[in-house]
Amino acid sequence: MSPETTIQAAMITPLVGAVLISFAGRWPNVRETITLVTAVIMFYLVASLYPHVMDGGRPSLVVGEMLPGLPIAFMVEPLGLLFALIASFLWIINSIYSIGYMRAHNEKKQTRFYVCFALALASSVAIAFAGNMLTLFVFYEALTISTYPLVTHAGSDKAKQGGRVYLGILLSTSIGLLFLAIVWTWMIAGTVDFTPGGILEGKASATVIGILLALYMFGIGKAALMPFHRWLPAAMVAPTPVSALLHAVAVVKAGVFTIVKVVVYIFGIDLLSVMANSDWLLYISGFTLLCASIVALRQDNLKRRLAYSTISQLSYVVMATAILAPLSIVGATLHIAAHAFGKITLFFAAGSIYTVSHKTEVSQLDGIGRRMPWTMGAFAIGALSMIGVPPTAGFISKWYILHGALDSGQILAVAVIILSTLLNAGYFLPIVYAAFFRKAQGEHGEAPLPIVIALTLTAAGTVLFFFFPGIFLELARQLI
């Protein structure tokens, strides 16, 4: 298969999967097999693009013109491939997990759940491969819409409220700010293609570039930059597999991915680094980083604590990008991958605990580690990765970010990273401690097998990432 066909196939596979799933709704086993098979095929297709990209190829595909002069176009470049690889790989594991979780909870409307999931993944991969800003925006909104039914899955009033916040913030930032930014960029530059080195150089005054940057950064609400972060905790009303794959990996990573893309391919690092007024991005991301960590300290609900942790970890990526040093961009890219593995493990663990014991609060977890050794073991690994302790994935990415910050003399960024590491330890380690060293309460065992398999795999991935970062590192290196 030529790479162009592969791109097409990789995006169409989940769509076909979604259709088949909706037809197979009556037979759960068939339905879930289709999901798994679709996920595996999709991952295979995405992975088969890897050698091409490593050889310096940039396979691209133009589907058609949406507006005169503005095609729906796709182009696979290292950053996008990395994002697509992670999303499609974790979808396989997450599907295994979903099967265990959804069955154990006897959730209703599971068919809709799997269909929307496949649609969300299709949108994510399309975002990853988008060749221009218009294409990216189209699928960015598709991702929002397709995840809304997942967030409100429970159908309760609480879910409705959560859905309102989710949709309200994501749509208003994207339509209100991002959309304006894209049209404006198009007017100034005459194109919105992702071009290495950026497209705005010499086309507009510093003030306009500054405004555009702000429109983009806040417009990409999925990156959860404060003050537009509230949707992420609100989305936690969704079933745990949704929080795990979408609100720790696909959706939020789509956000920071877009930010990195915009900075690298629309503005261009060189353009921004000579501009005086782009420092605020560093401050605001640093602020978000610390603030979210402090809020996380005070959350007793486990999933909410994880959500705030995600907000702060996303800001790592934004901050690393804002440092604008080549090494920190590598760090940002790696962090997208590293955080994905760590955070999905943590969410898997949270869901696993909820499935068996219906415990949702941190304060109820005393001694749970002895009853659920696999779950809590994986949780501990995920937590270490969040803090950035070797031998976990988080260490690698933080290392690069720190390196980049030191290289470019951003002492403030260094300080923020160190402080936040302490805060991370402050809100994760007590959980691990309580789980293993406090007296247990309640009678229950380990979670169902699919759940345990899934979280063990991702925990193992987190550790393996540390020892073999090569795949991702090579991709990230290609970026600069």
Binding site: G64, E65, M66, L67, P68, I72, F137, V138, E141, A142, I145, P149, T152, G155, A159, K160, G163, R164, L167, G168, L171, S172, I175, G176, F179, L180, V183, W184, W186, M187
Partner: protein, 494 residues
């Protein structure tokens, strides 16, 4: 041979067939005949559009009398495009109409419904194709009178008062228009549009011509329901039979917009009234007010038909806003939104017709849990709603893209901000329906409900999918709109 006669056929065919339905009396036969006629006009419209795109404006002299003494039919790009919209919507709606009409209109009046429908179509087609300002008035009244009747056929007795109110306001609008025509005639001695546009510049500074412009604009704005002249619209749309609402919402106001385009850009094309006399700023201010006021009112409506009626008022604001930029992309945005809005509103109102058929009402409460009970119907309504918001991959996005572009081109960034803000209001009213349909439980004592019949779902989904298709591949429609805008702005002579 017949090729040359196609323009007149567009008007004559429905006009002649209207009395035939009256004679037929049989509801089924009347429907069949009307169906054939509407699809025929749609086919002719398409071939006319092709002709216009290939070889330029078509001019047809009625009875062979040359203008300015005879009446001319003139079809340029805008006209052909609007004609395709009107006849296309007409044929889709009519395909859908049989079951809905059977339920909402008393059986002994069904054949009258189709007679009126054909007359209304005649009027609308005539308005689009004529090149004579007085002839336009006659067609305007044909379409208006028949639409008053169509609205009054609604089941609720409030349909009668709504029709009456529309009659009063519509007649005042039409009379204003004819006063304007009279004043122009006094100064130029002609009624032919092309002639007028050549003669008006010489007398443009007289108070008579300025008064004529004022009368014309106000009269037409009454017909197209520009805020604050929209008062007739919400009740008329709410209480009319669903089929009528779907048809009128996507054609009648659109054709009125077309008349405005003709007057402002063709008849007064040589004068630049938009910039010169400040018409631009007045229209822009009213359009923006419409976008916000009507959307806000829509949020608080409990009758969903009424909600979307107010949303129509807001969307007309978008169209007028596009025109008021007087730039190529602005006018193109107006024209393309005319098309896009017709598609999405038609889908939404047809969907609501299905709900009426099965549930009997369209309040928010009637919608509770409907997403699971009538998944196809609600799916189409939601698609239409997403299009109203302007989500990418729907037609609404295309319009919004060009509107924002037009605003930014003119450095009116605050208007760009207002455009996106007002579309966020659409999120609120659309999501009220989504939440009711998907997140509210089915009422406990609700009778079991079937999905709407396939004869209604099919046209409904054709429209819903059209709103996606033309959102993904807008190159063709947009290039027509851009061409048309270009022609209008440069001389605008037919």
């Amino acid at each position: 041979m017949i090729d040359g006669q196609l323009p007149i056929l567009q008007v004559v065919l429905p006009l002649m067939m209207a009395p035939v339905t009256l004679i037929l009396r049989n509801p089924r036969a009347a429907w069949m005949l009307t169906l054939v006629v509407t699809w025929a006009t749609f086919t002719i419209s398409l071939s006319l559009l092709m002709q216009v795109l290939d070889s330029g404006t078509i001019i047809y002299k009625i009875g062979g009398w040359a203008a300015p003494w005879g009446i001319e039919y003139v079809l340029d790009k805008v006209g052909a495009f609007v004609m395709v919209i009107v006849s296309g919507i007409g044929s889709i709606v009519l395909t859908y109409s049989r079951r809905s009409v059977e339920m909402e209109v008393p059986e002994d009046r069904i054949y009258l419904f189709y007679t009126m429908f054909l007359l209304c179509l005649t009027g609308l087609m005539g308005i689009v194709i004529t090149g004579d300002v007085f002839n336009l008035f006659v067609f305007l009244e044909i379409s208006s009178l028949s639409s008053y009747v169509l609205i009054s056929l609604g089941k609720d007795r409030r349909a009668l008062t709504a029709a009456f109110r529309y009659l009063i306001m519509g007649t005042i609008g039409a009379t204003f228009y004819i006063i304007g025509v009279g004043l122009m005639y006094m100064m130029t001695g002609t009624l032919n549009m092309a002639d007028l546009s050549a003669l008006i510049p010489a007398v443009a500074d007289t108070r008579t011509i300025q008064a004529a412009l004022a009368f014309l604009t106000v009269g037409i704005c009454l017909k197209l329901a520009l805020f604050p002249l929209h008062l007739w619209l919400p009740n008329a749309y709410t209480y009319a039979p669903s089929v009528v609402t779907a048809f009128l919402a996507s054609t009648a106001t659109k054709v009125a917009v077309y008349v405005l385009i003709r007057i402002v850009f063709t008849v007064f094309g040589g004068v630049g009234v938009m910039e010169g006399l400040g018409v631009q700023h007045i229209l822009m201010a009213l359009a923006l007010t419409a976008m916000f006021a009507a959307s806000t009112i829509a949020i608080y409506q409990n009758n969903v038909k009424r909600l979307f009626a107010y949303s129509s008022v807001a969307q007309i604001g978008y169209i007028i806003l596009g025109l008021s930029f007087v730039s190529e992309s602005g006018v193109a945005a107006g024209i393309i939104h005319l098309f896009n809005h017709a598609i999405m509103k038609c889908a939404i109102f047809m969907g609501l017709g299905c709900v009426v058929l099965r549930i009997g009402g369209v309040t928010i409460k009637d919608m509770h849990g409907l997403g699971h009970r009538m998944p196809w119907t609600m799916g189409a309504i939601v698609l239409g709603g997403l299009s109203l918001i302007g989500i990418p991959m729907t037609v609404g996005f295309v319009s919004k893209w060009y509107l924002v572009r037009a605003a930014l081109e003119k450095d009116m960034w605050f208007i760009a901000v207002l455009i996106v803000l007002s579309s966020l209001l659409a999120v609120i009213y659309v999501w009220r329906i989504v939440e009711a349909a998907y997140l509210k439980p089915v009422p406990e004592n609700a009778a079991p409900v079937h999905e709407a019949p396939i004869s209604m779902l099919l046209p409904l989904w054709v429209m819903a999918l059209a709103s996606i298709y033309f959102g993904l591949d807008a190159t063709n429609t947009l290039s027509i709109a851009l061409d048309a805008a270009n022609a209008l702005l440069h001389g605008g002579v037919l």
